[in-house]
């Protein structure tokens, strides 16, 4: 039974972490363009530097 006292909070905490991560991604706009996200992985890496040059500038 002492195992439960330890395991249940751990399980809940892990679940809540996942939920919090989902809410963060929702606010962060990661669900704005699902089709684009799916296609973006197919763009070749060496072509990218031009496109991202100003993002952190």
């Amino acid at each position: 039974m002492t195992g439960l006292a330890f395991l249940i909070p751990v399980a809940l905490l892990m679940g809540l972490t996942g939920l919090a991560a989902f809410f963060w991604s929702l606010r962060n706009g990661q669900f704005e363009d699902l089709d684009g996200a799916a296609a973006r992985i197919l763009i070749d890496d060496e072509e990218l530097p031009v496109e991202t040059k100003g993002e952190r500038g």
């Binding site: 809940l12 939920l19 929702l26 684009g36 973006r40 763009i43 072509e47």
Partner: protein, 715 residues
């Protein structure tokens, strides 16, 4: 502009959103982002593929025309987004957070429930029930808002919908579970309630996703068509959007441009394609003093047109008014899920009430009877029923979308499935709606002449030249090297090739095409002048598509506004009956006549003149090249050149409705088994959880079969 001082740079950054309807894949995204990123002054360019848009952050000094020009250079026409046509808010996003909360709570409560089902007793069970309540109640309140709000809205107006029995079931089950928990009872239903919310929300998200996706595609097309005109005022030429055009303004209309308002030619002479307005395939010659109408396409030389009517006075607005009246009957259509829920809610509540009364009469206490009645409500909650329609429609719409057919909403497929009669417009629907060169004339061209023709044509924006470029390009012809290229508007393109003059020009009077067909003359020094005839041709595989329609028991016929002769020719080639020379109101009448005879009519058309007919028919489909009116009025829009899209949409819709009906049988079949058990008081939370998830999974599995539905039938 790239050398702007760093201090002022951050102040002069602007964000522009361009709509790029042509983007559809990863390489398009890459090309668009790289082309814009390579411009000096562009800070970042980020594509949103779902909305077919690109957001560009750039120096204010860099104008929108530069951005549009950069995209045109790589083959992507685009338009700045018009603010009043901003995309409507997504229907999916507000549902994602409730879905996530329901999923999280459902999984954790289920974990605790499994221990209870495996035999946890006494204080352990009480602790687990309390924990379930602590997780479950806030989650139910949060995730259930979607249903509570909708049910309350319906009840306030004295109506009922699917959300009313759901809300009542959820609230009663939660109340009962809380009561049991606080009184050390043996059974709590938090797991079942949360699972119910999870499955129902999943169904809603799928439904919303489909609407969002279809709308994004159609919106991109509509926004692209935002019309306008170059207006000449005091020697300067400015672009004015159509809604700001006023009578008296003078528009300069280049060849290949569509008129944005009704008007009168003040200078120049040209030929206009009126097919969008009247369905006529032959271009009509116009000269000074002639009246022209919004939607007509200039085929030849640039002309100046004085606006005589704009906005609500145009022919276009007249057609829009007819359409509004014609479309009312369609908005009265009730979706199959709503029809089911009308029967469902009273049935469920009657059963629960009967159970309560029955057990009271049988001598069980009020508390015991109430408990069993609530179990009936939970077990009958329309879990699988809520998934039955949206899952099937989303899977089928996805399959159609991969084939280039966009579905505007779910009810479109329901209406399409019942079609037994099809009326097709000729120009632009049965035919491609644009001139294509005679293949025999191209076959007869020597290789070198073809190369010269391609090179000459590529220097012109004239519709015939562009058609020639496309046709020769498709044949793998490469362009010859030319020097001193010069285009004379309305006359043709002249250049030097190996030192000798060559030209692609309008034919001389004597050799010009007869009976309205169009032609270009290819003039190469030392070779005879070759005439290339252009005509509007049938779509490829038109006859195959019509055969497929007939095989499905749908009789197609032609309903065109074109002259009888041109219609008869196509009718002979496709073995269809035809009605020619039909005005927009004739088309509307023809559809209403068939509807009056008990037929379910499909209208396929593209023009403004088809608008009222598209709105009045039971279901309608338009090609992506259609006028914006046509695209707006149609339920389906197909982007490919192939006419097979029409029977494919029909066959897929029918398959979808078959699966929806099977899903209903599966979902109701489950209730037939489970309800007697629940009424007998035999259902435990464990049985409820297993039954609910099994029936939902079966319905989802059955719907996934539709992923293959958009294929051609096996020959």
């Amino acid at each position: 502009m790239a050398s702007a001082p760093p201090l002022t740079q951050s102040e002069s950054i602007e964000t522009t959103t361009l709509v790029v309807p042509g983007m559809h894949c990863a390489s398009c995204m890459g090309k668009v982002e790289r082309a814009l990123g390579a411009l000096p002054g562009v800070q970042s360019a980020r594509v949103n593929l779902t909305a077919r848009q690109v957001n560009v952050a750039h120096d204010a000094a860099l104008g929108v025309p530069d951005l549009v020009g950069a995209l045109v250079a790589i083959g992507f026409p685009s338009q700045p987004r018009v603010e009043d046509l901003a995309p409507p808010p997504s229907a999916v996003k507000p549902l994602l957070a409730p879905l996530a909360v329901a999923g999280f709570a459902c999984m954790n409560v289920m974990l605790l429930s499994v221990s209870i089902w495996s035999g946890a007793e006494g204080s352990t069970r009480d602790l687990f029930h309390l924990l379930s309540a602590a997780i479950g109640i806030p989650a139910i309140l949060y995730a259930g808002r979607v249903f509570f709000a909708s049910a309350w809205g319906a009840l306030k107006h004295g109506r009922t919908n699917m959300d009313v029995p759901i809300s009542i079931g959820v609230i009663l089950a939660t109340g009962l579970s809380l009561y049991e928990t606080l009184n050390h009872g043996a059974e709590a239903w938090f797991d079942g309630t949360l699972m119910l919310l999870l499955f129902l929300l999943a169904g809603r998200v799928l439904d919303a996703m489909m609407r969002d996706r279809a709308r994004a595609g159609v919106d991109a097309l509509l926004r692209q068509a935002a019309p306008g005109a170059m207006v000449v005022a005091k020697g300067a030429i400015d672009w004015v959007p159509a809604r700001d055009l006023l009578p008296g303004m003078v528009m300069r209309v280049a060849s290949g441009e569509r008129l944005a308002a009704d008007g009168e030619i003040v200078s120049g002479a040209s030929r206009f394609d009126r097919s969008l307005l009247t369905g006529e395939s032959a271009a009509v010659p116009v000269a000074q003093g002639d009246a022209v109408h919004a939607g007509m396409l200039n085929m030849d030389a640039p002309v100046d047109v004085r606006v005589t009517a704009a906005g609500s006075d145009t022919t276009l607005a007249e057609i829009a008014r007819t359409m509004e009246a014609a479309g009312q009957h369609r908005s009265a259509y009730v979706r199959i899920a709503d029809r089911a829920s009308r029967l469902y809610a009273p049935a469920v509540h009657t059963l629960a009430a009967l159970t309560f009364v029955g057990w009271m009469v049988a001598g069980a206490g009020a508390y015991e009877s109430l408990k069993i009645a609530i179990a009936v409500l939970i077990i009958t909650c329309p879990c699988a029923l809520g998934l039955a329609v949206p899952v099937a429609q989303v899977v089928a719409a996805g399959a159609l979308m991969r084939r280039g057919i966009m579905v505007k909403d779910g009810s479109a497929m329901e209406r399409m499935a019942r079609i037994d009669r099809a009326l097709l417009d000729k120009t632009g629907t049965l035919t491609l709606g644009r001139p294509t060169p005679d293949p025999q004339a191209l076959d007869a061209l020597p290789a070198q002449a073809a190369q010269v023709a391609l090179a000459l044509a590529s220097h012109s924006r004239h519709p015939l030249s562009r058609a020639l470029v496309e046709a020769l390009g498709a044949r793998g012809v490469t362009a010859a090297e030319l020097t001193q290229v010069e285009e004379v508007a309305g006359q043709g393109v002249h250049a030097l090739w190996h030192g000798g003059p060559v030209a692609l020009r309008r034919p001389d009077g004597a050799t010009a095409g007869t009976n309205g067909s169009m032609a270009s003359a290819l003039d190469i020094e030392g070779m005879p002048v070759r005439l290339i005839l252009f005509a509007d041709r049938l779509r490829p595989d038109a006859n195959q598509a019509l055969g497929w329609m007939r095989a499905m028991g749908v009789e197609p016929s032609i309903l065109s506004g074109d002259a009888m002769g041109a219609v008869a020719e196509v009718a002979r080639a496709t073995h269809m009956t035809a009605q020619g020379h039909a005005s927009p109101s004739d088309k509307l009448e023809a559809i209403q006549r068939l509807q009056g005879a008990g037929h379910h009519v499909l209208m396929a058309g593209d023009g403004l003149n088809d608008g009222p007919a598209l709105a009045a028919a039971h279901a309608s489909i338009a090609p992506g090249t259609a006028s914006d009116v046509g695209r707006q009025a149609a339920d389906f829009v197909f982007l490919s050149d192939s006419l097979l899209a029409i029977p494919r949409a029909m066959a897929t819709s029918r398959a979808t409705m078959r699966v929806v009906r099977q899903n209903f049988v599966l979902a109701i079949g489950y209730n037939v088994l489970a309800v007697p058990m629940a009424m007998a008081g035999l259902v435990t939370p464990l049985i409820a959880a297993v039954a609910m998830s099994t029936s939902s999974l079966i319905v989802i599995g059955n719907s996934l079969r539709l992923a293959m539905a958009a294929r051609e039938p096996k020959a």
